[in-house]
């Protein structure tokens, strides 16, 4: 039976938003993880909490913070469509232009962080706007982002969202359509295991559809909820076994993202670490 390695797993820092970044990194490192999936939001780091003139210093400070703790960044996951006004498919050209400019700077940051991937998002349209026009704007923006990423040597992954987050990418098929339209090795699919569970899909079906999967989000749920492994009832071992059987060599981000963890994210990370160490599909020697 093939297995994944503990060292392939990382923690998304979004649960630590009510703690400072030093605390966050201390907690992730002390729970034996080597990967941080870095959430780009206030006040850890984002376009809105750091003036442009101080951006490079902040980015190199963050890089040093990781190096000091032996952490590596798997993915730079900047807050974009769900909370922030970063919508690369907006019908408002002012919003769209700003969004693409911010994302390009984030792609540069990804390189500085030494991260494996930038977490691209496709944007969205209003439900009462023309759907085809939104898709067209989204593809154009993704192409511009991907060209830029390719130029500076940064790869990107993208996942499907929920309908209430993006009307143009809310299942496997719509994600596939966007990725195919861009058609670049610099933009590939990320599987979100909660979205798969919510849709009653198997991970194997994602492999069949996309061929290449470079990154995955793992969370538990009922089936939704983005809970820490063990806090829900999704078949996480089955999911991980499928990745292992495909010799998946990328990183898996534990994406517990629920306000119930915000007051004690260290306890959630400790729980995730313990779950992985007891998981039959994960090899545990460090």
């Amino acid at each position: 039976m093939k297995k994944l390695k503990f060292s392939q797993f990382g923690i998304m820092s979004v649960n630590y938003q009510q703690y400072d970044l030093e605390y966050c990194m201390d907690s992730i490192a002390s729970n034996d993880f080597q990967y941080i999936d870095f959430w780009g939001g206030a006040t850890h780091y984002c376009a809105y909490d750091t003036p442009i003139g101080k951006r490079q210093k902040r980015v190199s400070d963050i890089r040093r913070m990781m190096d000091d703790r032996g952490l590596k960044m798997s993915v730079f996951t900047a807050e974009q469509v769900c909370l922030y006004p970063i919508n690369v498919a907006s019908s408002n050209s002012y919003v769209r232009r700003n969004a693409i400019d911010i994302v390009k700077r984030y792609i540069e940051d990804t390189k500085e962080f030494g991260a494996d991937y930038y977490f691209a998002q496709m944007g969205y349209g209003m439900f009462d706007e023309d759907y085809d026009e939104t898709c067209k704007r989204s593809v154009e923006a993704l192409q511009e982002m991907t060209e830029y990423a390719e130029k500076i040597g940064v790869k990107m992954v993208m996942e499907q969202l929920q309908m209430y987050e993006s009307n143009i990418c809310h299942n496997r098929e719509t994600l596939k359509k966007l990725i195919d339209a861009v058609d670049s090795p610099y933009l590939t699919a990320c599987v979100d295991c909660v979205a798969a569970a919510a849709a009653g899909e198997k991970i194997e079906e994602y492999y069949e559809l996309f061929g290449t999967i470079n990154h995955a989000h793992l969370a538990d749920g009922f089936p939704t909820g983005h809970l820490i492994p063990g806090d829900g009832e999704n078949p996480l071992n089955d999911y991980l076994q499928t990745f292992a059987d495909h010799d998946f060599s990328g990183s898996v981000t534990i994406e517990g993202n629920n306000q119930m963890y915000f007051d004690n994210p260290d306890a959630a990370t400790m729980k995730a670490s313990k779950w992985l160490k007891e998981c039959p599909v994960v090899e545990n020697h460090m």
Partner: protein, 278 residues
């Protein structure tokens, strides 16, 4: 039957953030609502929408459609706005963003702007974030005086911030800042989560309540459509009558799932509430 009537009920456009503002207004008409708790949310009404946002244009479209605006609620949870941040740049930017709503409130014939306490880092001294929050609220209320606006402090759930989670801490902020143009906004879900009732707010600062927000909740999820949680709506409405509250009541339902088919969720909410009001 409660004394509350449909014409005092407001709905909030935040739930409609995946629809155009015009769609929101059409929907509000279909739902029989005449008041809007105006959310300063993206993409409807923020500084992020344009170099210079056409405030007069938005105000005119709201008035032309026959709506009144009892309060403006700048989005301060999703958006990067935090008046208590230890990061001085973010804190100052946040104050500037809130000033945008204060200076423009009268365009909407509105004199109330809702302010959240901001968020603290839990591994920093609580007193430091409290001080930042208080200084920011002071600056905002001084600015609001110049514009004849009242700041409504809103206690928020512990999931969002631990600075003002209950009636006592809202009152403490009000007292420490000390300006007369500070009132409060009472949110039934935040009150319930803190183990309080609307009555606790009326007892402590009844004459300074500027708006009431009603939403249902369960223990670990708040601001649900009425009927989806376990709060006692009748008890809330009885409290409003007991204290002869005559202001607006906003139905604020903000689960992220509601952003899709927002009207359906608000329709369910209003249908439930209608069973209790005149």
């Amino acid at each position: 039957m409660s004394n509350l009537t449909m014409d005092r009920l407001a709905i909030n456009n935040f739930t409609y953030r995946r629809y155009s503002f015009n769609y929101f207004m059409e929907s509000a008409k279909r739902l029989g609502v005449s008041q809007i708790e105006l959310s300063g949310c993206h993409p409807h009404f923020t500084i992020y929408e344009a170099e210079n946002f056409d405030v007069k244009g938005l105000a005119k479209s709201i008035k032309d459609a026959g709506f009144t605006v009892p309060a403006i609620e700048p989005e301060q949870n999703f958006l990067p706005v935090n008046i208590a941040a230890s990061n001085e740049y973010l804190r100052n930017q946040s104050i500037e963003q809130l000033k945008f709503y204060i200076q423009n409130a009268h365009e909407f014939d509105c004199d109330k702007v809702i302010v959240y306490p901001g968020k603290a880092f839990m591994n920093y001294p609580h007193s430091e974030a409290w001080k930042h929050s208080r200084e920011s609220v002071f600056k905002l209320s001084e600015y609001a005086k110049e514009h004849d606006v009242t700041i409504l402090l809103e206690g928020v759930s512990k999931f969002i911030s631990d600075l003002m989670m209950d009636a006592a801490t809202v009152k403490r902020m009000m007292d420490e800042v000390g300006n007369d143009n500070i009132g409060c906004c009472v949110n039934s879900s935040a009150a319930t989560l803190a183990g309080e009732t609307l009555e606790d707010y009326f007892v402590l600062m009844g004459d300074r309540i500027g708006i009431i927000q009603l939403s249902d909740s369960v223990e670990d999820n708040d601001q649900l459509v009425w009927g989806e949680g376990d709060q006692d709506l009748k008890k809330h409405l009885d409290t409003l009558d007991k204290y002869d509250y005559q202001g607006a009541v906003a139905l604020e339902v903000i689960m992220e799932e509601y952003a899709y088919e927002a009207e359906k969720h608000y329709r369910n909410c209003i249908s439930y509430v209608k069973k209790y009001i005149g």
